[in-house]
């Protein structure tokens, strides 16, 4: 006899869980849909927190350890909420030899944070990327969603000033 496991209910009334449920349904509520589901969660909520991981793991019937393992293995997933704005500096080879490290140094100095961190006022998150595939425009930087090419130190400082209001 098959044992009946009640379908877990979403952690709260947030409408965004409907999106997550839809993705899991599309994947046939199977473990193989774990990564796709985490993508949906991150897209909807911005990051993966404990309750989201627990809910997804229960729904797809995978151990929480596996959901946590996947979430921490892949660089794309983040367990911390991001700041209001994100600044991604590409550290691909082409960008690297065209001066991305100098950009990173300048931003680190200005904001006082390291890659992967968010400023204390939650305004700006600084991230680095492996390669954005915009090597023809090296060095490249992503401000929120928009890619900017051939960025210089003064240009990036200017842009960040707009965000921090300093």
């Amino acid at each position: 006899m098959a044992s009946y496991v009640a379908k877990p209910t979403p952690p709260n009334q947030d409408k965004r869980w409907k999106l997550v449920d839809a993705t899991m349904r599309r994947q046939g509520q199977q473990a193989r849909g774990l990564i796709e589901t985490l993508h949906t969660v991150q897209e909807a909520f911005g990051y993966l927190d404990g309750q989201a991981l627990r809910y997804v793991a229960m729904s797809l019937r995978v151990p929480l350890s596996r959901a946590f393992g996947v979430a921490t293995f892949y660089h794309f997933f983040t367990l911390k909420p991001a700041g209001e704005h994100t600044c991604v500096i590409c550290m691909g080879t082409a960008c690297y030899i065209k001066g991305a490290p100098q950009l990173l140094d300048a931003v680190q100095k200005d904001l006082g944070i390291r890659p992967g961190e968010t400023t204390a006022d939650k305004k700006v998150s600084l991230l680095t990327a492996r390669c954005l595939g915009s090597c023809g425009l090296a060095p490249a930087v992503v401000y929120d969603q928009g890619v900017a090419g051939k960025v210089g130190t003064s240009a990036i400082r200017e842009h960040l000033k707009k965000w921090t209001g300093a």
Partner: protein
């Protein structure tokens, strides 16, 4: 969808396009989009409407035209290519259609960058609208699929691919025909096709461009592959870092489904095929086929020992065909024009063309497709236009973190799988990064080792610990604190990693170090003995073992 219906769609589209006597194509691939080519397109649209030419002049968003460094690029029906166009230039360009070209924006196309290329994979890039399947069909799209389904047996399709001599474009260069016939001979209840679009090599963007410029071409290749090996389900594994490529790909799949080119009983035959997109999540190791399979199955992307090869036991334990984006993009022309035609291009052992992403310290950066066997000198100095600011060429790096740095002595070497391997590098997926004298080779080796160290999945010890050790020594060399003993240890570690790591990532991780040690030993010596960095890059004190 019958062959006649497809022909009809193509005819209708061609007739509709011939109504336009003039046309302007704007590049809307990621490179030019980040230089605001969308605003250029909007402005051109407005200008055309303002002049009441909407029924005569077509403004089309197209894929990559190659010369990304000069973007946004615009080409017109009277054969002029414009570079660095801004929205304000819209009016002048529309006016120029009836008169003289806008002089200050013209980009010369009679230069080697354009003349030396031979386009097979990229033949539609820059000509068709990637968001419209009709445009692709009008350019002979899906005719290879129809030909394979209606006139050829799966065996004949595989034979044709074998005859073409096509080799895997993901880097290793395994003969594609052989892989296809292995999968077709394997027994399983369900076979799968996977397209590897997890282009993780920093400095490579060929797959992104192909997916953004001509997504249907890849789908068609996958369909033909599925027919040849007897698969009915497919996944295309794309990096999440390529949102535009994902969007266009999903759109292309929807369109193909609506036309009956994907789904059940394609073209009234017994062949059914379904393609699903799977997003990567930023793990370089997932480019390795067994790790990729683990990731598609929803697990951590860790590789497993081979054999069994995915061709026998792959996705969900079933026979699986895995090919790279560019490999699949080569299939349709091979079926259309025959394997012999393809085999007539390139060198004896490396057939056809290869798309390269040219970047770094060269004048012309962007995407180029050249026949195999072209020399590195032609790539860098003719197509690439040489080194800017009158500096001196130092090295060209191919194959990403798994490849090596080729010094100026290698410039006259032909670019093919064997020659590159012999020189200590690999073809890789096609990234080609040029470095001049301002780059320090120790720093470059450290950069790649940092990459491999961070991206190591941690499953096998040689790779997990070895990359860390090597990175520590390279950092010490960069900080001028290393000794001759350290250098010896570094060389030993190179050998150890190469022979004992589980997957390609660890086995090839020492390549950048080995190749720079071989060709630029003098620089290592200067760091260790003279405590000097010839390029003036190293020397800033960095904590040992620090990840950037």
């Amino acid at each position: 969808m019958t062959p006649e219906e497809l022909e009809q769609i193509g005819e209708t589209e061609r007739a509709a396009q011939s109504q336009f006597t003039q046309g302007v194509n704007v590049c809307v691939a990621a490179g030019c989009l980040s230089c605001e080519s969308q605003a250029v397109k909007d402005s051109l649209d407005q200008e055309v409407a303002k002049r009441g030419k909407k029924d005569r002049c077509q403004v089309k968003g197209v894929g990559c035209m190659g010369l990304c460094s000069e973007g946004p690029l615009v080409s017109t029906s009277n054969g002029v290519l414009y570079k660095k166009v801004t929205a304000a230039d819209g009016a002048a360009i529309v006016d120029s259609l009836d008169g003289q070209p806008v002089k200050q924006l013209v980009c010369a196309t009679d230069v080697p960058f354009f003349q030396r290329q031979k386009k097979i994979v990229l033949e539609n890039s820059g000509n068709i609208d990637p968001d419209r399947i009709e445009d692709y069909i009008a350019a002979n799209g899906y005719s290879a699929l129809i030909k394979a389904l209606t006139e050829m047996s799966p065996r004949e399709v595989t034979d044709e691919v074998t005859k073409s001599g096509l080799r895997g474009r993901g880097g290793a260069g395994y003969p594609t025909g052989l892989k296809w016939s292995t999968v077709s001979k394997s027994v399983g209840t369900q076979k799968y096709v996977i397209c590897n679009a997890d282009e993780g090599d920093p400095g490579a963007f060929m797959d992104r461009s192909v997916l953004e410029s001509d997504p249907h071409r890849v789908l068609e290749g996958m369909l033909i592959g599925g027919y040849a090996v007897g698969a009915s389900e497919a996944y295309i594994y794309v990096r999440a870092e390529y949102p535009l490529a994902i969007k266009r790909l999903r759109n292309a799949i929807r369109q193909a489904e609506r036309m009956g080119l994907l789904g059940a009983n394609i073209c009234g035959t017994r062949f059914s095929f379904r393609i699903d997109v799977r997003l990567g999540a930023g793990a370089f190791v997932c480019g390795e086929e067994t790790a990729l399979i683990a990731s598609v199955e929803g697990r951590r992307g860790t590789p497993r020992p081979r054999p069994p090869y995915p061709a026998m036991e792959g996705l969900f334990g079933q026979p699986t065909l895995i090919n790279n984006v560019e490999t699949f993009a080569n299939i349709a022309p091979i079926i259309r024009n025959g394997g012999d035609w393809y085999a007539s291009i390139g060198t004896e052992k490396s057939k056809g063309t290869k798309v390269f992403a040219l970047a770094g310290r060269v004048e012309n950066t962007g995407l180029v497709e050249v026949p195999m066997g072209i020399s590195l000198r032609e790539m860098v100095f003719e197509i690439g236009g040489g080194i800017p600011e009158g500096r001196k060429f130092k090295a060209v790096q191919t194959g990403g973190p798994s490849g090596g740095c080729l010094p100026s002595e290698c410039l006259d070497m032909p670019v093919d799988y064997e020659s590159l391997a012999k020189a200590g590098s690999i073809m890789g997926s096609g990234g080609m990064i040029v470095m001049d004298e301002s780059s320090c080779m120790v720093d470059v080796a450290k950069y790649f080792m940092d990459f491999c160290m961070t991206e190591s999945c941690g499953k096998c010890i040689p790779c997990r610990v070895g990359t860390y050790q090597m990175h520590r020594i390279l950092t010490a060399i960069g900080n001028m604190t290393a000794t001759a003993q350290d250098l010896k240890l570094l060389q030993e570690l190179c050998d150890l990693l190469k022979h004992t790591s589980l997957c390609g990532l660890g086995q090839s991780a020492p390549n950048p170090v080995v190749s720079t040690l071989k060709s630029f030993a003098e620089e290592y010596r200067a760091h260790i003995e003279d405590h000097k960095c010839p390029a003036g890059v190293c020397g800033v004190e960095q904590p040992v073992g620090e990840t950037v």
